[in-house]
């Protein structure tokens, strides 16, 4: 197992722990690091869905109940475009 794979596993584990505890402010930089470092980090979207499923998806808060999923997609797309421009 090379270092990239190990780093990705570590990042995903950290992401899982932060999402479980609802620490979105810790998950946010991890997501950005993951999206920048790796090619198409789909686990970011899964993290967003998981966050919303745990803490959101309540009709009383409307579309804000899906903020995690929307943000994850936004970060993924923005960083994908940014990487194409920069690299």
């Amino acid at each position: 197992m090379n270092r990239t794979v190990l780093f990705r596993i570590f990042l995903d584990s950290a992401l899982f722990v932060t999402i479980i505890n609802g620490w979105w402010f810790v998950a946010f930089p991890l997501v950005i690091i993951g999206a920048w470092r790796f090619y198409y980090t789909i686990e970011i979207v899964l993290a967003g869905i998981m966050y919303d499923a745990l803490f959101g998806m309540v009709p009383a808060v409307g579309v804000w109940g899906y903020a995690g999923t929307i943000t994850a997609f936004g970060i993924l797309i923005i960083l994908h475009v940014l990487k194409k421009v920069v690299r």
Binding site: N21, G22, W24, I42, A53, L54, G56, P59, A60, A67
Partner: protein, 326 residues
Amino acid sequence: MMYIRTSSRPAERRTRTITIALGSIVALVILLQVFIPHFLPAIFTTIARPFWRMEFSIQSGSLKSPTELLAENEALKIRIQELSTQDASADLLRTQNAELLSVLGRPDLSLTSFNSGSNATGSSTTASSSMSDIRRTYSTLSSAGARMLAAVLVRPPLTGYDELIVDAGADQGVVAGAKVYAPGNILIGTTTDVLGQTSKVTLLSSPGLTYPVLIGANHMPATAVGRGGGQYEAQVPQATKIAQGDSILDASLSDEAFGTVTAVISNPADPFETVLFSPEINVYQLRWVLIDQNNQSQPYLNTQKTVSSVPSTVQTVKSTSTKVKK
């Protein structure tokens, strides 16, 4: 010069495949939310619940030494004895209250707080380590099991949404729309999403939610508007003489405690003043809550309903009306 090809697939094809995969995930999430709204929350809550329970157990001191636990047990037994004595005097007041209410022609308004039911405080209140035992014990202490004790697994401000996740769900008899109280009989929220073993409790202080209350000694009716984190505000006319420290009551017949006035912001040019208030407890430090088991499911709490179906008691308001008056 020759280069070793790193992948057998061209880059565009791989990008297209991943884009299709992402699109499929979105479509799947939307379809699941439309047709089986509890599917994703149930799956992820099942995964997260053991971690939450473990964290709660550690915070509750499950890893304490046997000596410490025995000492704590002794201290709790002494405390129970003290409370039993106090409860006896509370019984007298309760009886007196019932008599006065019947004299006033309202015998139906007898106290139904969880403080009542002192007859059960005997040997049944032994210190118990298991959550279900504690819940059963507390339900016995409460008014004929009308409220259920639930442990708070996740609370603000760590969660992005102004809500609690508690460890009691449909399996324990919790229904959507049930009122949730903090210890001390303080109304703090309602259950909005009930799963098998857990429930989401939306705090009444969630931004945009409103709730009818009575402010001060004169019971000035007002609408409490949530500001998040257990904080509320309400608009009242200038001449009402509301001061810091005045109590806030729930505007229902039960007159349950709602909070205390923390500040009054008034502007002589404005006919209304803004009353800021919060409950006596700190929602960030809540470890236990009581869930009303008498409530019936309310339409606005059904996850399949839209915000437009919110009744007048708890409803979202337009963002313009939630602005704090400076």
